[in-house]
Every structure is written in C-alpha cells, then in structure tokens.
Symmetry: C2
Subunit: 348 residues, 2 copies
C-alpha cells in the first residue's frame, strides 16, 4: 500500500543586496540584533541611529572564529526565547562572517525558521559570506560542518563600516575579491592589477562586482550541486590549514590566499595554468600583504584531512582549479601522488 | 546601488509512504540507523534482516521525550562525523516521534542537509509525526521550539512493529487518528465509532486513512501558513499540559486527548459544537482509555503559557476549533475571559 506525498512547488526566492543604503532600513516587527563585542563598541550606535524599528534588543557575543560553535548558537537561541521572539520576528546579523553564519543558522532553526537580515561589517563578509545563504558553525571535525541553507531577507553592505577595519582584515576580504576575479572574470582581474582598493571609489566598484558575480553563481546553484563549488577555489586547502592551526594563526581570507596558491601549484602541475599566470595571481595577493606560503607539518596528515571536508562526497576530493585566469575546472580524479608532489613543489 | 539575488525555483518535492512494504527497502550509500534502547532490543534484528545496505552503523539513544534535546542531537551528529558520513549518506529514523524528529533535525543540519528515511515504530509516529517534515527538539521554553522543515526521502510504516506497543502507547496513537477524523472527515469518525482498532485489518485501514488525510494537508501547506495549523487541534492545550507536567506524566497522544476535550469545551462555549457532538468525541477517546481531564494548577499560568507556543505569532493565540464533526475553524480573536471560563466549565 502506497500513499504519495507531493509538496507544492516552492515559489522563487529573491532578495536585494544594497550598497550604502542602510538609512532606508525599516521594520515593524520585534528585532534581535546579533553582534560581537568589537563591532558593538565601534558601530552599534551608528546602526541604532539609522534603524527604524519598533522594538529591539541586542545579543553580544565574544569576537572570533573560535566562538563559532554550539555554545554561541545556543546563547543566541536562548536570548530569543527569553525575549519572546515569535515566528514573525527578525534577526539582524551585525558583524563579520562568523556573526552572519551563526545568526543565519539561529534564524533557520528558531521555531523552524524566521527571517534575518545581513549587515556585514567586514570586507570579507560583504563580498562573500553575506550573500548566498550558507549558515553554519564549526566543530572539532572542521569548519561549517553543521548548518543550513537559509537565505537572508536582504543584505546591506555599508562601506562606512570598513573604515575601522584592521589592515589584515581588509586584505583578507581582498583575497575573496581576487578569488572571484581569477575564477570568473579576467577583465576584472586585470582591473584589480591596476587599481588600488584602498581608494574608496575603487573599493565600491570591487564590492559591487564581487557581489554581482557571487549572486549570479548562487542564483544558478543554491545548494552547491554544480557551479557554486567554484566559490570554494582555494578553500579545500584553506580549511585544512585553518583546522591544523586551530583557527588562531590565520584569518579566513589569509588561509584562502595560501589555499589559492596551493590550488594553483596543482593546476600548474596538471598543465591548466601557466607559470606566468600563477605568478601574476600570487603577486596580486602579495600586493595586499596576504600570506602565500604555509609549512605543512605532515603531508600525509594534510592530505588525509581533505576527507573530512564536507565537499568530498563519497571520499572523492573535489579540487577547484583555475584553467587560465577567468576560467575554472572542477576535478575529483586527481591521484594522491600528484597532489602531494604539487604541495611539495616550492619552485612553482 | 542594488543587486538582485534571484534563486531558481525549487523543484517540486515528493515522497512515498509505504505500508507493510519494508522488505523492498534498498540503499547503496553509507547508512546511520538512529534508534533508542527499547526499539533496538525489540526490533533491530528484524530491521537488519530486511535492510539491503552496503555499510551501516547504529546510533542508540535513551528512550523518552526527556532526551529530545540538544545533547542527544549533538550525540547523533558527533557519531555521524566520527563514522565519516558525507553528503551522500543517509540517516534512518527507527523509532517513535522523538527519534523521528531528532533524526530529521540532525539530517537537515549535518553538512547543511542530507537525506533521511522514516521507519516509525509507534502508532503515533506512523499516523502523524513521520509524515510532514517537521523536525525538532524541546528546550526549557517548550516543545519543538528549535527545528527545521525537512522532508524524509520515504516513510515505511510497518504494522508488525506495533504488536509490541504497550496499550497506553497504542491508545496515544489512536488519539491522533481520532483528531484527523474529527477535523477533516465525518464518515471516518463514524466508522471509528463502530470499528475496533485492536483488529489488525481495521487498524491498517485507519493508518492508511490518517496518513492520506495528513499527506493531503501537508501537500497544500508545508510551512503551516494555512490549513496545516488544523493538525494542531488539541495541541495548543496539550503543549502547555506537557510542559507543566514536565513531559513525564502524559504521553503526547494522551495530552492531545485532554487537549481535544479542552478545545471542544471552548468550541461549545462559542456555539460551534453541540453538547452531543462533544460527548461523542469524548466517548470515542474514552473507548481507548485515553485521559480526558487534567486539573489545571493555575488558570492564569496556564493561559500565559500559550504565548510561548510557537504557533502564536504576534502574541495572538491561534485556537483550532471543531465546527461540528468533520469541520474546523481557526480563531485568533477569542478573549482571555472566554478561554478561562471554558476551561473552568466541568459540565461541558
């Protein structure tokens, strides 16, 4: 005996990413603002001055990737229950990627899902994490291994918040901008080679370009079954580096910069990328003082750690490689020996 | 400056509920079977004899609603990481509603979502919890307050597993069957008045009928924005009773039986239900030895607790009332005094 359960098709979802339009923000529901101690002391007053909300409260977490865990998630949820948020309430993520990912995750599981808005305050989260609906926390097995897909209702990128960013964090954001250009857009890469992002007008163009590229990719493939995986260029390596260094040595974007260089060595070994292109990419990363080398303690352990990454379905590692600047190739057929030999290659 | 993010429409989801067809189950991916100590000792060998799987492991939890919490959820997730499940792996929920809700929740957040299958072993979960995709855990603020909507890939209802059910648990399942009939299907209600569900053939008909009714409702309204709320008939009261008695005095279906009688008192007070109909419903519940009364310690506290229930958006309580048997009315405009006076009414 069989009974069919057929669910009505979900309607198409869409949202808007606004740049420098925070003053237009308005809500008539109860709002919880999730932030961290650093962002709070620098920018919370500015935000509260701009918000038009009926009733709000602030949840302040400690600052750092090491707090992106079940304990913080629970803390957010408990505060929401304590303040009696309901299904019509709204969460605002006010901070970098850590705050955005955790707030989105909390929104997706609070009473089986409520709305949230991203107000990213770092360059990294403006150009990357805030768009695309990936939420999550880390655990002892790795980064973002527990989470959901939950799209924000809107994203507000405000360049004013970037003025207080420490130089390292600014550069970490540039790493993701470079990543977008290298994999998807050669003219943008060439523009980056000749335009300094410390200039505000240039920066705004770069943010707009990166977000547009990312939005296009996510629109095509929300659940990362195809092209969205390309956004992980450099990340397969970066996640292992971050895990090995316990998320304390490198900022995410810095680890990505190293990961990009590692992925390029592999692409070079496979004949996908020329030595000249590899050098141009590395040079652009170095222009923003990003790290590009990492001494791997044990190549075997490093390789083994790939298999814990959630992107490796059925124990096949998926490598995102650049096939000349502006193009990409997704490969899951590369022999262990080739990977290890590429990682050893200091001349590449 | 604005950028639109438009996500491609999700494809229509569907799955099959099979009754007594467990022998047809087959998988070629790594499988984690989540169960509890009671179900494991009674039925795990039977299940393993029927399953055609390549590689599996078993996660066994303690039995009971009080274990439906973050700790158990974390335990399931940690075991999945330890056994290196990946995005193509499958979870099987093998147990009652508690196991089903937690396994579904774990599946929905493990690496941002993997497949799971329901094999409900109680009557309650066969006719109710296993269909519809609601997942969740309890916390100190109430029941199912944290969770997701995540549909199973398939549901297998096997009447053989019901033979070992304690009579109280069997009756608790019957309460949900009665609920479906009272709100949606008068001929089914009348059939129930004249057919004993301890007869296996009758039981199979009742399961099939209940699941079909529920599947139709869920298909129309997955996220409970309309008609699906009717499935909560009796539940607004039941959740408060369960919370006040700390989930230890009543089985969920028993609390629902009491909740149905409370909801009917309110419907009677509002002229929606006749005294005769109210008595017929109560009589059918009592035929299965279900509790129909509960001494409320404090009416004020009882009423106040409604507002913590996730179904009450913007502090309006949504009551699901029966408007003569086989029909329903959703009301969020009932004054506190009327509710309290209905709850006081012992003659109704």
């Amino acid at each position: 005996m069989k009974i069919d359960v057929i669910l009505k098709e979900a309607t198409s979802k869409s949202y808007v990413v606004s740049i420098d339009e925070l003053d237009k923000l308005e809500f008539d529901t109860k709002v919880a603002i999730v932030t961290n101690t650093t962002v709070s002391s620098l920018h919370l007053q500015t935000l509260l001055g701009l918000l038009h909300v009926k009733e709000y409260f602030v949840i302040t977490l400690s600052d750092g990737e090491s707090y992106k865990n079940f304990t913080s998630l629970n803390y957010i949820l408990e505060a929401c229950f304590e303040h009696r948020l309901d299904r019509k309430s709204l969460l605002i993520a006010f901070g970098g990627g850590v705050i955005g990912d955790m707030t989105g995750f909390a929104a997706s599981i609070f009473q089986r899902g409520i709305d949230f808005i991203q107000i990213p305050t770092t360059l990294l989260s403006q150009v990357d994490a805030s768009v695309g609906g990936k939420t999550g926390i880390n655990n002892s097995y790795g980064k973002n291994l527990i989470g959901t897909f939950w799209q924000p209702r809107a994203v507000y990128c405000e360049t004013a918040f970037l003025k207080t960013l420490p130089p390292r964090e600014f550069s970490a954001g540039v790493a993701e901008i470079i990543k977008m250009a290298v994999t998807f857009d050669k003219p943008f890469f060439e523009w980056l080679e000749t335009h300094d992002l410390s200039d505000e007008a240039n920066l705004k163009i770069a943010i707009q370009k990166s977000v547009s590229l990312k939005a296009r990719v996510v629109a095509l493939d929300e659940r990362e079954e195809g092209v969205r995986a390309v956004l992980n260029y450099g990340h397969t390596f970066a996640h292992v580096i971050e895990n090995e260094t316990k998320y304390t040595t490198y900022l995410h974007g810095e680890a990505v910069a190293i990961g990009i260089v590692m992925a390029n060595k592999l692409a070079f070994k496979l004949g996908l990328l020329t030595q000249e292109e590899m050098k141009r990419i590395k040079k652009l990363l170095e222009q923003y003082h990003l790290p590009t080398t990492y001494t791997i303690p044990s190549l075997e352990a490093f390789y083994d750690a790939f298999f814990l990454d959630k992107k490796s379905a059925h124990a096949k590692i998926k490598f995102i490689l650049v096939s000349s600047i502006g193009g990409y190739e997704i490969r899951n057929d590369i022999a262990k020996e080739i990977v290890i030999s590429a990682l050893k290659d200091d001349n590449a």
